[in-house]
Symmetry: C2
Subunit: 323 residues, 2 copies
DNA sequence: GCTCCTTGGTAACACGTGTTAGTAATACGT
DNA sequence: ACGTATTACTAACACGTGTTACCAAGGAGC
């Protein structure tokens, strides 16, 4: 394109990249910019990536499940922050067919943020390709977890909330959908740990495909003396509440329920459902800064928020047996 | 890498790409594959893309909102299908900062499927770069809509369902979240059109941020004689049902409600909520075939399903006034 | 006038691949 | 024995960019 502007290709490169040490007269500079504008010229991303060794892409590796709730919002914000730094964010949902090794044969991103666990082979492959790896909610062998948030902490907070009200027998209710196992299992394990620390009785059950069977499951829990239930999310919490009500039990008098996500369904439920809310607004900034190292991005927000998860007390929890 | 296998680079390229017209002895072929395996060699995606003019990426351009429900499932399936064809699917949520023009400066994908509307400038830019554009649920100036699904059809189906039961005054209830406008407006407009065709009275209201105000909105609807409500989705439908019940109205006797998405909340609601379900399983195949033209993908599924949306009758709808 | 330094710019290499054209060796037909 | 066809392979170019090394012109210092 430069040739059409009466100047060498090198000069164009210098102008467009604002090369620090280069000496370009203002007139030439303007001529180049003018020509680029009229021709609609943009550099080839592949050639640039080939030469520099990495592209402008930040790959967001997600677990194999539909994105919704607070995490969806985080992705949106992260994408916007990265765009300001000149980086383009792509998402890629984890998939049975192609792992990170396969994906990296389609592009060489500037960075990969792992929101799901990576195998040592995947990590090694990315490292060999010179790809910047960031573990955020996902575990990468040999890398520190950059997330202020562990799924197990969610479970721990739920149990702590119930324990604070005096409950001594608690249970965790998992969703039917096994796609969610990657999220639900750590939450349950965190809850289990916390219950053990506090000396509470703990058990867990998983919902089945059949909606009607939830009633039986909840009946089993209450008859065994459980007074507090941690649900995987507000949707599961809602179905537990419904089942308890079908059984003639009253929430929270006979059974306290804690959900996760602070979603509309929990707010509209009767009684409204105590839940765990995510405060991910600052995390998006932090992550962006972490990914765009060496880019012109506003400095990483000074302090990490002490807690990225927060309990939202509502009507579905109370001391056991209307103490 | 080839040099380490005692063979020329060209031969490596021929072997790894299974070049049709090439003559390679079996021993050499094995030697190359062996060397590639031991060295862990994979071709540079950028160099390949630079040479061939396009990469293995299928970019999925999404509207600016969190993905959930049936569309999330579709994306997952599409990604798997494309992976089988050797293509890697990335998603990119529409963003205020970077439009398609910006994105295409980070990579040159094999194809872009537009699930949101594109400006003429964006379409022209993609065309100039030789990117295969497919309009699926999104409008691209000058391109045919490949989706068997229009959002307006959802609204039309909802109104038709209510009309079939004898309702003569219907209303559309939109969600508060304006991020969803891209989806909700076409649904409302389709409903409006259908109502006009059938000679029904039609109006629409939008929920506000304040959950409590929903009661007032629903009260207004019923006092004005509305007997049937089409909700943007099951969540909105649920909140309408709750509001009606708070007002002492009975569903479906005093008010029929139709949602969208066939989600858990609608199934668990009392009464359960009549909804519109999406059958997108075949669409994923069709889309994949459309995107992977010239690739070794199983042929496009023979027949298009007649209907990709389907009404699921449940307890929240009945003839008006318990006819 | 000669050398040295700064300003403004360019020629040429390298990135790693796909592809075309070409070469050496062997087989085949007569 | 000679021309032709086939097999097996390779040299060399091109893709579009970033970057290093180099060159020309003009002024400053002596």
């Amino acid at each position: 394109m430069a040739e059409a502007a009466g100047v060498s290709r090198t000069t164009v490169s210098f102008v467009l990249n604002d090369r620090p040490g280069a000496a370009i007269s203002e007139t030439t500079r303007q001529r180049v910019l003018q020509a680029a504008a009229t021709l609609g010229y943009v550099p080839s991303p592949e050639a640039r990536a080939l030469k520099t060794g990495r592209s402008d892409i930040v790959l967001c590796l997600l677990p194999d499940w539909p994105i919704t709730g607070p995490l969806g919002v985080l992705l949106k914000k992260l994408s916007a922050h990265l765009a300001e730094a000149g980086l383009t964010m792509f998402s890629h949902q984890r998939n049975a067919v192609d792992d990170l090794t396969q994906v990296l044969q389609s592009t060489t991103p500037a960075a990969v943020v792992a929101m799901c666990d990576l195998t040592p082979a995947e990590a090694a492959f990315a490292q060999q390709r010179g790809v910047h790896l960031v573990a955020w909610m996902g575990v990468i062998p040999g890398y520190p977890d950059e997330a202020g948030l562990r799924q197990s902490d969610v479970g721990r907070l739920q149990v702590s909330a119930l324990a604070g009200l005096g409950h001594e027998r608690v249970a965790y209710v998992l969703p039917h959908d096994t796609d969610l196992a990657w999220f639900s299992d750590p939450r349950r394990d965190g809850a289990s740990e916390r219950a053990a620390e506090l000396g509470l009785a703990f058990e867990h059950v998983r919902l089945t495909d059949d909606v009607g069977s939830t009633t039986g499951l909840v009946d089993g829990l209450t008859t065994s003396g459980t007074t507090g239930v941690c649900a995987y999310n507000d949707e599961v919490a809602f179905s537990v509440v419904k089942a308890a009500q079908r059984l003639g039990r009253e929430v929270p008098r006979d059974l306290s329920v804690v959900g996760v996500d602070d979603s509309v369904i929990g707010r509209l439920s009767e009684p409204s459902i105590t839940t765990v809310s995510f405060e991910l607004a600052h995390e998006a900034e932090n992550l962006a800064a972490l990914l765009a190292v060496g880019r012109n991005l506003p400095a990483r927000s000074s302090a990490r928020p002490a807690e990225v998860i927060r309990l939202v007390p509502r009507a579905s929890t109370a001391p056991p047996g209307r103490a």
